[in-house]
C-alpha cells in the first residue's frame, strides 16, 4: 500500500536504523531529466511522519547542490547515541567524486554542509556501501575496475581491496558482507562478481555463470548466511536473480525468474532474509523469497520502471521506490486499504509527457506491459507470508492465581532439520512476590484451624513493633481468656489486686478510724498515677466506693456525739432528726455542706430521699470525680462515655468494662470508639480500635483501621485481616453472638485480601478467607472464580455450571447469580455458627465440601431449589452427633467437645418458659425441615438422628435472642414437660396441611438470612430422624404433611425414658440406639443416601452411618399386635393396586415405610393401652371397610393421646385411611 509520494527524480537514502524520526534523503539523479528538463540539482531531506495520513512527505530541508548523483547512501558513522540527527550522507557523483554531507547541517539550513569531498575515481561513482560493522568504512566503485575503501575518519587516502580486476570494467555495484566484516563483493555489467578479502588484500573468488548474458545490475549479500549472495541481471534476455553460495561457486544455487524483463535493482531486507525486493523493466516491484523463489508480494505499482528501491532500515515494513516517471513512492508491504484520505491529485505534468522519453536520452522506450492497471486497488493485500518481524517469538501473560504463562521460541540461526525438532512448550509458573504476606496468612489460618488463638495473640504481642500494636493484640487476646473484662481493665492499667493492696495500705497508713477516707482515696489516686497511668485514675473509686460505705458505717458506729439542740445548724439538724424529719435534716446538712451527713441521713430516710439527695449532692459537688461517682451511682454510663474528656478514654472504657451491663456493654464501647474516631486526634483515632475490639464490633474496627492505615499494601491488609479474623473468633467465642453477616466494608476488605492471596497462588486460603454469607456480586463472583481455579470439582459434582453459564446475555446477570449463591451459602454459614468454636464465617472447611453444593441446586427445578439449603447443609448432621460417640476430621470434634462441660448450666438457665408454650417457634422450624430431603441420608443413622444433638444445639445458642432454640431447651430440660409443649402444636400441624411439607414458607428464607442458627438447629430433632430415613428424596417432596407430627413424636418419645442416662442434657441418648435400630434398616439409609442428588457424601458421614447400622436387630412384633401390621399393610396394598396416579402411589409407598415407626413402637411395647386399643379399633373398621369410622377413631386417638407418642405414625395412618376411603378399596 502506498503511503507517501515525493515528486522527484532522485536517488534516495533512508536514514540509518538508529535514527528517529525516520528521514529520507533524496539527491537529484544524474543521467536523468524530469519533464521540466531542469538541470538544477538538490539534496533534500524528508521526514516520514506516519501519523500524518496524507500522501505528502514532510520536507525538512533542501540544499542546492552543484552535483547530480549516481548513488546516495546514509551511513550511521558518528551517529550520536542520543538519536539526534546525524550520520553521514555519502554521495557518488558524476565525475568520480565522492562527497560527504552532514545531514544535520542540511536540516539546520546551514550553507556549509559538505564534510569532505574527493575526486579520486574515474567516471561516475555508481557503487557505494557502508560496512555495517565498522561504519567508518565505505567502499566505492566506479569505472576502470576502480574500487576504493574509504575511512571516514581519515578520508584523505583511500585503500584498495587488492589489484584491479582485468580487464577493466565498470563497477556497477558493491556490497559488504553482512556477516563477515572484511569481505566485500563487487559486480560489473559484464556479469562477473568478485569477492574480496580485505585482510588478504586480494580477490578470493570470482563468480559468474557461463551464459555471458548475465549483466549484473545489482548484488546483495544474504543478511544471515555469510556465503550467500544474489546477483540481478538487467539483460532482458535473462531477467533473473541468481542466488549463489560461495561454497559451491560453480553455478548458481537458485535462479529466480519472476521478472519478464531485465532487473534494475534489488534490495534484501535486513529484517527478514526471506524478503527480497526486485524491480525490473517490466515495471514490476516484486517481493520474493530468495530461499525458495516464491513471489510473496507484488507491489501495486502502475507507473514506470523503478531504478532504485530501498528498504527502510528502521521500519521494516516500509520501502521506497524511485521510478523514472519522476516520483519516489513510499510503500508498506503490510497491505491495507487506501481510503479517500490518501488520494492525491494526478500529477498532470508528468502524465502529459507520459511515457515518451523520461530519460531524455532519445532512446525509445518499449511499451509497458501493464498499462491498464492504473487504477489503484482500494484494498491491498499484504505479503503472502508474514514477515519475520511480526511473528512474536516470546510472551508472558499473567493469569488468575498468580500464574504466569510463558513461551519462547528459541532463535535458530541455522535453517535445517533441527528446527523441526524444536518443541513448542508453554510454561505455567507460579509467581510469588509476597513471601511475608503468605507466611503470615498461613500462620493466621493455622491459628484459626487449630483454635490456638491465645498463642497466636501472644506471639503477636511479642512481635509487636509498637505499643499500639501490642495493645491491640493484648485486647484481642483477652477475648479468649477467662474474665475478659477484668483483663481488659488490667490492660487499661487497673489491676484489682494491686488496687486492693494500695487501698489497704493507704487505709492502714492513715489509720482510718476517723473517716479520713478522702485522703485515702487521694492517696490511692496518687499511687496509681505514679504507677504510670496517665491521668486522674478514676478507677480506684470503684473499689473505694465500697470501702467507703463500710468504713462510714464503722465510723458512725464508733463515734459518740452530743445531741445538741442549739440554734446553729447542728441544732437544727438535731431537731429535725429528732422529729423524724429526715428530709429537712438532709437539706440542712446539704446547706451546711455536710455531705456525708446528708447522705447518711438520706439512707436512713429511705430510697426516695436517698436518690433525691444523691441528685442534689451531685448537682452541688463539682469535683473531678463527681461525675464518675454520679455515673456509678445512677448507673448512667452513657453519660460518662458521651461527655468524658477524650483524653480520658481509657478511664471511660475502664468504667464501662467494670460497670456496664452485658446488654449495653458493646454499645457503650462502640459509642466511645465512635467519639474517639470522630473527635480525637490521630492518636486517639487509632485508640478507637481498642474500643471496637472491646465492643466486638468488627465492622467498625475495619472502618477505623482503614481510615488510619494505608490499606493497599499486602502487609497492611494482612495486619488488618489478622485482627479482624481474631476478633470475629473472639466475638463468637466469648459472646456466642452469631457473627452477623459481613458488612460491606469488611466484605470489601476480605475480598481484597482474598484477591491478594489468590494473586500469590494461595487459592485455597483465599477461598477460606472469603466471606461466605454475602451476596455482593463481586464476592460471589470471586468465590466462584476461586473454586473453579482450584480445578477440583467436588465429589458427586456434575458438569460444572458456572454461575454465568448461559447464553450470552450481557445484562442482568449479577442478580440471579447472587441469589443462587446466597441460597446455598447461607446454610454453609449456619453450619459453622453452631459450634462453640466455629471457624469465622468466612471459613469453609473444607471448602470443597461446602461450596460444591451450589451447583447441583442450580440445576434443579425451582421447587427443588427451595430445599437446596438443606442439601447444602449436608455436613451439619455431623453437628448432631453426640460428641462422645464420634469425632470428625475437620473441626467437627473441636466443635462439639466443649458442649458437655458447658452445656448443662447454659441450657438450664435458658430453658425459658416463655418459649415453651409458643407454638410458632416449633412450627416454623419444622416447616423448614421437611424440606430437607438431602440431609436425610445422614439423619437416617441412629446416631445422628437423635435428639441428643438438639441439646448440643441448644447450648450453642442458649443465649437470649435465640428464640427458636427454645424447642431444644424445652426438650432437654423437661423430659416429661415436653408433652404439653408439643401438644401445643397447632392442630393443623398435626393433621398436616399440604403446605407444611412442600413449601418452605418464605419465612424460612428470611430467617435463614438473619437468624441462621436459630431456625436451623431446632427443627432437626423434630423431623429429620423420621421423615428422612424412610423416604427417598423424591417421594419425600411429595410427602403429605402428616408425617410432621410423627417426627415430633419420635424425638420426644425417648425423653420419657431418661433412666440410666449419664448425661443430663442428653436425655434421649439411650433411646436413640434402639429406636434407630428398629427404624432404619441400613439398606434404606443407603438408598436414600445415594438418592440425594448432587449432595456430596463425605466419608465422615458415611462412616457415622455405618456405625449404628451394624448393631441393628429388631425384636418381633408381639403376636397380639401383629394383626395391626398385616391389616395396615394389606390396606396399603389394596390402595396401591387401585391407585392410578403416581403421586398417590408414592404417598402410599411412603406411608408404608413410615408405618414402620408404628411397628417399631409395637415391638418396643411403648405405646399406651389407649392407643393400642384405638389402633385395633381402626384395624377392625378397616376390615369392615368402614374407613369413615376408622378416621373417626383416628381423630379420637389423636385428640386424646400424647401427641409425641403418636405423631410418628398417626398422620401416616390417616393418609392411608383417607386414601382408602377415596379409592373405595
Amino acid at each position: 500500500m502506498k503511503l507517501k509520494e515525493i515528486d522527484r527524480t532522485a536517488m534516495q537514502a533512508w536514514s540509518p536504523a538508529q535514527q528517529h524520526p525516520i528521514y529520507l534523503a533524496t539527491g537529484t539523479s544524474a543521467q536523468q531529466l524530469d519533464a521540466t528538463f531542469s538541470t538544477n540539482a538538490s539534496l533534500e531531506i524528508f521526514e516520514l511522519d506516519l501519523s500524518d495520513p496524507s500522501l505528502d512527505m514532510k520536507s525538512c530541508a533542501t540544499f542546492s547542490s552543484s552535483h547530480r548523483y549516481h548513488k546516495l547512501i546514509w551511513g550511521p558513522h558518528t551517529m550520536a547515541s542520543d538519536g539526534s540527527l546525524s550520520g553521514v550522507l555519502i554521495a557518488g557523483g558524476e565525475n568520480g567524486n565522492i562527497i560527504l554531507y552532514d545531514p544535520s547541517k542540511i536540516i539546520a539550513g546551514e550553507s556549509e554542509v559538505i564534510i569532505a569531498q574527493k575526486d579520486k575515481h574515474t567516471g561516475p561513482v555508481r557503487a557505494l556501501d557502508v560496512n555495517i560493522f565498522q561504519t567508518n568504512l565505505v567502499a566505492s566503485g566506479a569505472n576502470e575496475s576502480e574500487i576504493y575503501i574509504w575511512d571516514l575518519n581519515n578520508f584523505a587516502t583511500p585503500m584498495t581491496p587488492g589489484a584491479k580486476t582485468q580487464p577493466p570494467e565498470d563497477i556497477s555495484c558493491i556490497a559488504w558482507n553482512r556477516q563477515v566484516q572484511h569481505i566485500l563483493a563487487s559486480a560489473s555489467p559484464s556479469g562477473r562478481a568478485t569477492v574480496w578479502d580485505l585482510r588478504k588484500n586480494e580477490p578470493i573468488i570470482k563468480v559468474s555463470d557461463h551464459s555471458n548474458r548475465m549483466h549484473c545490475s545489482d548484488l546483495a549479500w544474504h543478511p544471515d548466511v555469510a556465503t550467500q549472495m544474489v546477483l540481478a541481471s538487467e539483460d532482458d534476455r535473462l531477467p533473473v536473480i541468481q542466488m549463489w553460495d560461495l561454497r559451491f561457486a560453480s553455478s548458481p544455487l537458485r535462479v529466480l525468474e519472476n521478472h519478464t524483463r531485465g532487473i534494475l535493482t534489488i534490495a534484501w531486507s535486513m529484517a527478514d532474509s526471506e524478503l527480497l525486493l526486485s524491480c525490473g523493466k517490466d515495471a514490476k516491484i516484486l517481493c520474493s523469497n530468495p530461499n525458495t523463489g516464491e513471489v510473496l508480494y507484488e507491489l501495486p505499482t502502475n507507473t514506470q520502471w523503478c531504478f532504485d528501491v530501498q528498504w527502510c532500515p528502521r521500519n521494516p515494513a516500509i520501502l521506497s521506490a524511485a521510478s523514472f516517471d519522476g516520483r519516489i513512492s513510499i510503500y508498506s508491504i503490510m497491505g491495507g486499504s487506501t481510503d479517500g484520505l490518501r488520494q492525491k491529485q494526478v500529477d498532470k505534468l508528468s502524465s502529459s509527457f507520459g511515457n515518451l522519453d523520461p530519460f531524455g536520452t532519445g532512446q525509445p522506450l518499449p511499451p509497458l506491459h501493464l498499462p491498464q492497471q492504473t487504477t489503484p486497488q482500494s484494498t491491498v493485500l499484504p505479503l503472502k507470508k508474514p514477515p519475520k518481524w511480526v511473528r512474536r517469538p516470546v510472551g508472558a501473560s499473567f493469569s488468575f492465581g498468580g500464574k504466569l504463562v510463558t513461551f519462547e521460541n528459541i532463535k535458530s540461526h541455522q535453517q535445517g532439520p533441527e528446527q523441526q525438532q524444536l518443541q513448542h512448550h508453554v510454561y505455567v509458573s507460579q509467581v510469588v512476590t509476597e513471601r511475608e504476606f503468605l507466611n503470615r496468612s498461613d500462620q493466621l489460618q493455622e491459628a484459626v484451624q487449630s483454635e490456638g488463638f491465645i498463642n497466636y495473640c501472644q506471639k503477636k504481642i511479642e512481635a509487636a513493633q509498637t505499643d499500639f500494636e501490642k495493645n491491640v493484640w493484648s485486647f484481642l487476646k483477652v477475648n479468649f481468656e477467662e474474665d475478659s473484662r477484668g483483663k481488659y481493665l488490667e490492660l487499661l492499667g487497673y489491676r484489682k489486686d494491686d488496687l486492693g493492696q494500695k487501698i489497704t495500705s493507704a487505709l492502714n497508713k492513715e489509720n482510718l478510724v476517723d473517716g479520713k477516707l478522702e485522703e485515702a482515696l487521694k492517696e490511692s489516686d496518687q499511687s496509681v498515677q505514679s504507677n504510670g497511668e496517665d491521668s486522674q485514675s478514676t478507677e480506684e473509686p470503684f473499689l473505694g466506693e465500697k470501702t467507703k460505705e463500710e468504713t462510714e458505717d464503722l465510723t458512725s458506729g464508733k463515734e459518740t456525739f452530743n445531741i445538741s439542740v442549739s440554734g446553729d445548724v447542728d441544732g437544727l439538724i438535731t431537731q429535725a432528726l429528732l422529729t423524724g424529719s429526715f428530709e429537712s435534716a438532709v437539706d440542712l446538712c446539704l446547706h451546711d455542706n455536710r455531705m456525708a451527713d446528708a447522705i447518711i441521713l438520706a439512707i436512713a430516710g429511705g430510697q426516695e430521699l436517698l436518690s433525691r439527695t444523691q441528685k442534689k449532692y451531685f448537682a452541688k459537688m463539682q469535683s473531678k470525680i463527681t461525675r464518675l461517682i454520679t455515673a456509678v451511682v445512677t448507673k448512667n454510663w452513657k453519660e460518662i462515655v458521651q461527655s468524658c474528656d477524650l483524653q480520658n478514654w481509657r478511664e471511660a472504657l475502664a468504667a464501662v468494662l467494670t460497670y456496664a451491663r452485658p446488654d449495653e456493654f458493646a454499645a457503650l464501647c462502640d459509642l466511645l470508639g465512635t467519639r474517639l474516631e470522630n473527635e480525637g486526634d490521630n492518636l486517639l483515632q487509632t485508640q478507637a480500635c481498642l474500643c471496637y475490639i472491646c465492643a466486638g464490633n468488627v465492622e467498625k474496627l475495619v472502618a477505623c483501621w482503614t481510615k488510619a492505615q494505608d490499606g493497599n499494601s499486602p502487609l497492611s491488609l494482612q495486619d488488618l485481616i489478622e485482627k479482624v479474623i481474631i476478633l470475629r473468633k473472639a466475638v463468637q467465642f466469648t459472646r456466642s453472638m452469631d457473627a452477623d453477616a459481613v458488612g460491606a466494608l469488611l466484605a470489601e476488605k476480605m475480598s481484597q485480601y482474598a484477591n491478594l492471596l489468590a494473586a500469590q497462588g494461595s487459592i485455597a486460603t483465599a477461598l477460606a478467607f472469603l466471606p461466605a454469607d454475602t451476596n455482593q456480586p463481586k464476592i460471589v463472583l470471586l468465590r466462584d472464580r476461586l473454586c473453579r481455579a482450584q480445578g477440583e470439582l467436588p465429589v458427586g459434582q456434575e458438569t460444572p455450571k458456572s454461575p454465568y453459564e448461559r447464553e450470552p446475555v450481557p445484562k442482568g446477570r449479577a442478580g440471579p447469580v447472587a441469589g443462587q449463591m446466597q441460597m446455598t451459602q447461607g446454610p454453609v454459614q449456619q453450619y459453622y455458627q453452631q459450634g462453640d468454636n466455629p471457624p469465622p464465617p468466612g471459613f469453609i472447611m473444607p471448602p470443597g465440601a461446602a461450596h460444591p453444593n451450589v451447583l447441583p441446586h442450580q440445576a434443579a427445578s425451582p421447587s427443588y431449589n427451595m430445599y437446596s439449603p438443606a442439601g447444602a447443609r449436608q455436613p451439619y448432621p455431623q453437628t448432631y452427633q453426640p460428641p462422645q460417640q464420634y469425632s470428625f476430621g475437620t473441626g467437627g470434634s473441636a466443635l462439639y467437645q466443649p458442649q458437655q462441660p458447658i452445656a448443662p448450666p447454659t441450657s438450664a438457665s435458658y430453658a425459658n418458659p416463655p418459649y415453651m408454650p409458643s407454638a410458632s417457634p416449633h412450627s416454623a422450624p419444622s416447616q423448614l425441615y421437611p424440606g430437607q430431603p438431602q440431609p436425610s441420608p445422614t439423619s437416617l443413622n441412629p446416631g445422628s438422628s437423635f435428639p441428643a444433638p438438639p441439646s448440643g444445639a441448644s447450648f450453642q445458642h442458649g443465649r437470649p435472642g435465640a428464640p427458636a432454640t427454645s424447642v431444644a431447651y424445652a426438650l432437654s430440660t423437661g423430659p416429661t414437660g415436653t408433652l404439653p409443649a408439643t401438644n401445643e402444636l397447632p392442630a393443623s400441624q398435626r393433621t398436616g396441611p399440604q403446605n407444611g411439607w412442600n413449601d418452605p414458607p418464605a419465612l424460612n428464607r428470611m430467617t435463614k438470612k438473619k437468624k441462621i442458627p436459630d431456625n436451623f438447629m431446632p427443627p432437626a430433632p423434630i423431623t429429620s430422624p423420621i421423615m428422612n430415613p424412610l423416604l427417598d428424596p423424591q417421594s419425600q417432596m411429595q410427602q403429605p404433611p402428616t408425617s410432621l407430627p410423627p417426627a415430633a413424636q419420635a424425638t420426644f418419645q425417648p425423653s420419657h425414658l431418661p433412666s440410666g442416662q449419664p448425661i443430663l442434657q442428653n436425655p434421649f441418648q439411650p433411646i436413640q440406639q434402639p429406636l434407630g435400630q428398629s427404624v432404619m434398616p441400613p439398606a434404606i439409609s443407603k438408598t436414600s443416601t445415594e438418592g440425594a442428588p448432587g449432595a456430596p457424601i463425605g466419608n465422615t458421614i458415611q462412616h457415622v452411618q455405618s456405625l449404628p447400622a451394624e448393631k441393628i436387630t429388631k425384636k418381633p412384633i408381639p403376636d397380639e399386635h401383629l394383626i395391626l401390621k398385616t391389616t395396615f399393610e394389606a390396606l396399603i396394598q389394596r390402595c396401591l393396586s387401585s391407585a392410578t396416579d403416581p403421586q398417590t402411589k408414592r404417598k402410599l409407598d411412603d406411608a408404608n415405610k413410615r408405618l414402620e415407626f408404628l411397628y417399631d413402637k409395637l415391638r418396643e411395647q411403648t405405646l399406651s393401652p389407649a392407643i393400642i386399643n384405638g389402633l385395633h379399633s381402626i384395624a377392625k373398621s378397616i376390615e369392615t371397610r368402614n374407613y369413615t369410622e376408622g378416621l373417626n377413631i383416628h381423630t379420637h386417638i389423636v385428640s386424646t393421646s400424647n401427641f409425641s407418642e403418636t405423631s410418628a405414625f398417626m398422620p401416616v395412618l390417616k393418609v392411608v385411611l383417607t386414601q382408602a376411603n377415596k379409592l373405595g378399596v
Binding site: 506516519l50 501519523s51 521500519n315 515494513a317 516500509i318 503490510m334 497491505g335 491495507g336 486499504s337 481510503d339 493485500l381 499484504p382 508474514p386 511480526v390 511473528r391 517469538p393 516470546v394 510472551g395 508472558a396 501473560s397 499473567f398 493469569s399 488468575f400 504466569l404 504463562v405 513461551f407 519462547e408 521460541n409 532463535k411 518443541q423 513448542h424 512448550h425 508453554v426 510454561y427 505455567v428 509458573s429 507460579q430 509467581v431 510469588v432 512476590t433 460491606a744 470489601e748 484477591n755 494473586a759 472464580r785 473453579r788 481455579a789 480445578g791 477440583e792 458456572s802 454461575p803 454465568y804 453459564e805 448461559r806 447464553e807 450470552p808 446475555v809 450481557p810 445484562k811 446477570r813
Partner: protein, 320 residues
C-alpha cells in the same frame, strides 16, 4: 519466587505466538504459526488437549478468552486477516463467528470488560481497529475505526470497567454509566486512547514517547483507585508506564520502566495490577514492580538468576 509448575507440550508445529489462560486459570489456549489454536485443560498440573481448532489460513497471532458469563468463548486473530470467535457447545469447540472485515493481518484481539457486554476489539495491520459487539441471536454489530494507526495496529487493550465516582457508593439497581475506553498501539509509534461517545469511537488521546513500533499495550486492571495505568512496549526496547490521575483522562504522563537492548514484544499485568511481566525479543521474561518511591524495579530477572523463568524452563528442557 517464580517456579514452573507445569510444562505444556503444545505439539504445535511452528512458533507459538500467544498463550492465554482462561478466567479461572484452568484452561490454556495457545496459537501458532502452524495456523492452529489449541486448548488444554491444565488443571492440577495436567495438560489434556481439549480442542485443536482449525480454521485460520495463516499464523494465528493472539487468542483471547471472553468472560465466562458468556459461556466458553475464545477469539483468535490471524495473519489471514480473519478474526474467529470459537465457542464451546456441549463440550465441543466450534467456530461461531468469523469476521473478515480487515484487509491485512489482524494482530490483536481483546475482549471488553464483561460489564459492557460481549465486545471484541481487533487491531489490524491495515491500520484499522474493529469493534465487534454481540447483539444476540448470533448477530454481531461492527464498528470500524479506519486508519487508527498508519501501517498497522499491533495491540489493543481495554480499560477496566470503572464507573465515574467511587466504587463503593455505587447506586444499586441502576445501570452504571460506564465510559468505555481502550488503548491501542501501532506502527506509527503511537499509543492512542479511544473513547466511546454517542456510540461513536473517538480518539481521545495520542501518547507519544516511543521511537519505534509500539508492540504491545496493556491497560492495568483497576485496583479501586482513580488512577489509570497503561504499560506499553516497543520495538525501540523501551517500556513505558503511563499514568493518568485525572478522571477526565486527559493528562497522561509516561515513566520509563526500562530500556532493553532488544525488541520488547509483550507486557502483561498481574491480576492485582502490581506486577508487570515484560517479554523481550531476547526471549527473556522479566517481572517488574513499582517500589515505594515510585521506581520500577526488576524483581525477577533471568540474567541475575533470581526468579529465573527461563533458567528453570531450560533446565526442564534439558531433562526431556
Amino acid at each position: 519466587m517464580v517456579s514452573v509448575i507445569n510444562t505444556v507440550d503444545t505439539s504445535h508445529e511452528d512458533m507459538i505466538h500467544d498463550a492465554q489462560m482462561d478466567y479461572y486459570g484452568t484452561r490454556l489456549a495457545t496459537c501458532s504459526s502452524d495456523r492452529s489454536v489449541k486448548i488444554f485443560d491444565v488443571r492440577n498440573g495436567g495438560q489434556i488437549l481439549i480442542a485443536d481448532l482449525r480454521g485460520h489460513e495463516g499464523p494465528v497471532w493472539q487468542v483471547a478468552w471472553a468472560h465466562p458469563m458468556y459461556g466458553n468463548i475464545l477469539a483468535s486473530c490471524s495473519y489471514d486477516r480473519k478474526v474467529i470467535v470459537w465457542k464451546e457447545e456441549n463440550g465441543t469447540w466450534e467456530k461461531t463467528y468469523e469476521y473478515t472485515g480487515h484487509d491485512s493481518s489482524v494482530n490483536s484481539v481483546c475482549w471488553a470488560p464483561h460489564d459492557y457486554g460481549l465486545i471484541l476489539a481487533c487491531g489490524s495491520s491495515d491500520g484499522a481497529i474493529s469493534l465487534l459487539s454481540y447483539t444476540g441471536d448470533g448477530q454481531w454489530e461492527i464498528k470500524k475505526i479506519s486508519n487508527a494507526h498508519t501501517i498497522g495496529c499491533n495491540a489493543v487493550s481495554w480499560a477496566p470497567a470503572v464507573v465515574p465516582g467511587s466504587l463503593i457508593d455505587q447506586p444499586s439497581g441502576q445501570k452504571p454509566n460506564y465510559i468505555k475506553r481502550f488503548a491501542s498501539g501501532g506502527c506509527d509509534n503511537l499509543i492512542k486512547i479511544w473513547k466511546e461517545e454517542d456510540a461513536q469511537w473517538k480518539e481521545e488521546q495520542k501518547l507519544e514517547a516511543h521511537s519505534d513500533w509500539v508492540r504491545d499495550v496493556a491497560w492495568a486492571p483497576s485496583i479501586g483507585l482513580p488512577t489509570s495505568t497503561i504499560a506499553s512496549c516497543s520495538q525501540d526496547g523501551r517500556v513505558f508506564i503511563w499514568t493518568c490521575d485525572d478522571a477526565s483522562g486527559n493528562s497522561w504522563s509516561p515513566k520509563l520502566l526500562h530500556k532493553f537492548n532488544d525488541v520488547v514484544w509483550h507486557v502483561s499485568w498481574s491480576i492485582t495490577a502490581n506486577i508487570l511481566a515484560v517479554s523481550g525479543g531476547d526471549n527473556k521474561v522479566t517481572l517488574w514492580k513499582e517500589s515505594v518511591d515510585g521506581l520500577w524495579v526488576c524483581i525477577s530477572d533471568v540474567n541475575k538468576g533470581q526468579g529465573a523463568v527461563s533458567a528453570i524452563t531450560e533446565g526442564q528442557q534439558n531433562e526431556q
